[in-house]
């Protein structure tokens, strides 16, 4: 089973190399190859997740490895869904490395399958953690689009329409992620009340999820009410991505709390 994971990991790596080469040398064939290799990696990755789920007899989302693995797949899924809809490939050059980055983090985690601890055996398990995967992946994709926006502005390589589209799509991704982050926090609160007897315990993971929520709430207000757009908002999204990664991985690594499941 591990072979599937590492095959997907390797193919993601190859797709990133091909994408960079295709972008640097402006070779469409390389870019096309990168996309097909990425799709193959995505399918292998899906195969790994399904197989692991069957073997474990549950959703494979219970520890740092499984969550990081699903997170990477979520980022890849966003790219797979969005690229054909956008009819453009400006997203791939940043989203493919982002997928590889999260996969690398996953590869560094212990991979053994463990029984679910009693606190995790709940109907909220899939809703809470699945929403977190979607939410974090959306924020990472929004950050990728924002990065691409900044690069395009710096190079002067995109027209106004393309920049407006990038700016708007990044905002939509944040809106999507924000909704799911809200689901994460609220479903987590309901679950916490069932498992730990309190809706909110100021646990580091809860607090950092709230901090992430506040950061993106500020973004939404600046974007929607103050009509802030363009470079400043793109920088905002790029800078917010490390906070998402900290909430996801940093809190579990550096802080002890109720969410420390290994």
């Amino acid at each position: 089973m591990k072979a599937l994971f590492f095959a997907a990991f390797a193919l993601y790596g190859v797709s990133v190399i091909l994408e960079f080469a295709g972008t640097a040398f402006k070779k469409d064939r390389l870019l096309k190859a990168a996309w097909y290799v990425f799709l193959a990696a995505f399918l292998l990755h899906l195969g790994f997740i399904v197989t692991r789920g069957i073997i474990a007899g549950r959703l494979p989302l219970s520890n740092q490895f499984e969550f990081a693995n699903a997170f990477a797949w979520g980022v890849a899924l966003m790219l797979v869904v969005m690229r054909p809809r956008l009819k453009t490939d400006w997203l791939s050059v940043v989203a493919m490395p982002a997928t590889l980055l999260v996969m690398t983090y996953a590869a560094l985690q212990p991979m053994e399958i463990k029984d679910l601890m009693p606190a995790l055996r709940s109907a909220w398990f899939g809703v809470h953690i699945g929403s977190a995967v979607v939410s974090y992946a959306s924020f990472v994709i929004a950050g990728c689009i924002a990065l691409r926006y900044l690069l395009s502005v710096k190079k002067g390589s995109a027209d106004e329409r393309a920049l407006a589209q990038m700016d708007y799509i990044s905002y939509r991704m944040v809106a999507f992620g924000f909704l799911f982050l809200t689901v994460v926090i609220l479903s987590g609160a309901i679950w916490a009340e069932q498992a730990w007897s309190a809706f909110w315990t100021w646990d580091p993971k809860e607090v950092w999820a709230l901090i992430t929520w506040i950061i993106y709430a500020v973004y939404m207000h600046l974007r929607l009410r103050r009509k802030r757009k363009g470079t400043a908002m793109a920088w905002f999204l790029v800078i917010a991505v490390p906070v998402v990664f900290f909430t996801f991985a940093g809190v579990n690594t550096l802080m002890h709390g109720l969410h420390t499941y290994g």
Binding site: P118, R121, Q165, A175, F176, L179, A189, W191, Q194, S197
Partner: protein, 418 residues
């Protein structure tokens, strides 16, 4: 006064509050919370004064954090009130205002016709105003941000009530025994086990609650993630423990006493000779020469429990170990060491179920509000024979969509048209 009111309801003030709440929260996660003052003096020798003075050791209970939350509630209330009035005003004259908008994109006649079909396919409702036609969809989307802000306000209020009003009691109880609450409610624990039939960890007890008015619950199964509510009480499987079990028989009269030991104890008939129970270890390793290494921590049930105690006789303490089933006789007493007894630690919450229900309703409202805000943006397009203009509170999506869809039919640039 007006200026103060404007500031309190402004978005800028709301954002400043959110940033301050986030900053306090960061401090609350970086600095361990709720320890004794001496702990901070020892671990933060250079900054402990500032930590204690600013109450950074209890950020989430500090006056300034609560003040920030209260101000946020005030900001949300005022902002929601002002916003709903503005939204109602906007919605009222929206069609007329849209009809008066100048075209921002001029289209060829073919493009205009295609645009009409496109808007019909989108299931927009249309209204003719003079020579213009105003197309609308998702009118309720105007209320999305109001619903969202209102739900956040309700969540903070009901969340605070749910967090601070319940009375919480943590209580251990041996199987077969009962817990009595101050109001006379009786909670009986019938049994408890740590693992299920397959050996998987699954802390489970059966409980029965009797209220002061004699109403009695069914026997309910209590597990992690499966609390049990009856009357004003909600019971949670919180923790568990393992107690040593010793039966003491008086050899002279044959009388017996059973002791469940959860902490150090001295068992003696005459106060001079007896055993001083220290603790029960979950596991041990015995090497070939007979030396025993005690293991203090294992997961779940104790695999090889072993009792550790001192035999006290004639003023001499003799460290001794005993396994379940072992017996020891000391001056007229026989001590029999039994298999340990596992018992649950329950959390008993006296809680308002109405408050919890209202909080969960606020959660649902927030999800609905955000969904409407982000995914049901009001569509408002004015078309005429020459082209179109996009209006409404969030025209960006429609502008981009129409611009992409009809760029080949555009007759002139936006600047020229306006």
């Amino acid at each position: 006064m007006k200026k103060l009111f404007r500031t309190l309801r402004s978005m800028r003030f709301g954002i400043v509050l959110l940033i301050l709440i986030a900053a306090c929260s960061v401090a609350g996660t970086v600095i361990p919370q709720g320890r004794e003052a001496a702990w901070y003096v020892q671990n933060y020798p250079s900054v402990h004064g500032a930590i204690l003075a600013l109450r950074l050791n209890r950020v989430f209970e500090s006056w300034y954090f609560i003040a920030l939350l209260v101000l946020l509630c005030l900001n949300l209330s005022l902002c929601s009130l002002v916003r709903i009035r503005a939204v109602i005003r906007t919605v009222r004259g929206e069609t007329e205002r849209a009809a008066a908008m100048p075209d921002t994109v001029l289209l060829s006649p073919e493009g205009t016709e295609k645009l009409r079909c496109f808007l019909e396919d989108m299931r927009c409702s249309c209204e003719a105003v003079g020579e213009a036609t105003v197309w609308r969809k998702h009118g309720f989307g105007h209320y999305g941000t109001f619903i969202t802000h209102l739900s956040i306000l309700l969540t903070v209020i009901f969340g605070a009530l749910a967090l601070y009003t319940p009375t919480v009691t943590d209580q251990s109880c041996m199987p077969g025994e009962s817990i009595f609450m101050p109001d006379g409610t009786k909670i009986r624990v019938l049994d408890f086990r740590i693992t299920d039939e397959t050996g998987r960890l699954d802390y489970q007890s059966h409980v029965q609650v009797t209220l002061p008015d004699s109403r009695q619950s069914e026997v309910a199964e209590l597990k992690v993630n499966h609390p049990f509510s009856f009357g004003p009480y909600k019971l949670f499987q919180q923790t568990f423990g393992t107690a040593g079990s010793v039966t003491v028989t008086n050899l002279e009269n044959g009388g017996t006493d059973d002791f469940l030991l959860t902490e150090e104890a001295y068992l003696s008939a005459d106060g001079v000779t007896g055993i001083h129970y220290e603790m029960l270890y979950p596991d041990f390793i015995r090497d070939p020469s007979g030396n025993v290494t005690l293991i203090t921590v294992t997961e779940g049930s104790y695999p090889h429990p072993i009792y550790r105690f001192d035999v006290i006789a004639g003023g001499v303490f003799t460290p001794t170990l005993a396994e379940p089933g072992d017996e020891l006789e000391l001056t007229g007493l026989r001590f029999r060491f039994n298999s340990p007894v596992e018992y649950p630690g329950l959390r008993i919450k006296h809680v308002s179920s109405l408050c919890n229900a209202l909080l969960i309703a606020s959660f649902m409202l927030m999800i609905a509000g955000l969904t409407v805000t982000f995914f049901y943006e009001p569509v408002l397009v004015k078309t005429d024979a020459d082209g179109y203009a996009v209006g409404g509170p969030k025209p960006e999506r429609m502008r981009i969509e129409l611009s992409e869809e009809f760029r080949e039919y555009e007759r002139t640039s936006k600047e020229e048209a306006t």
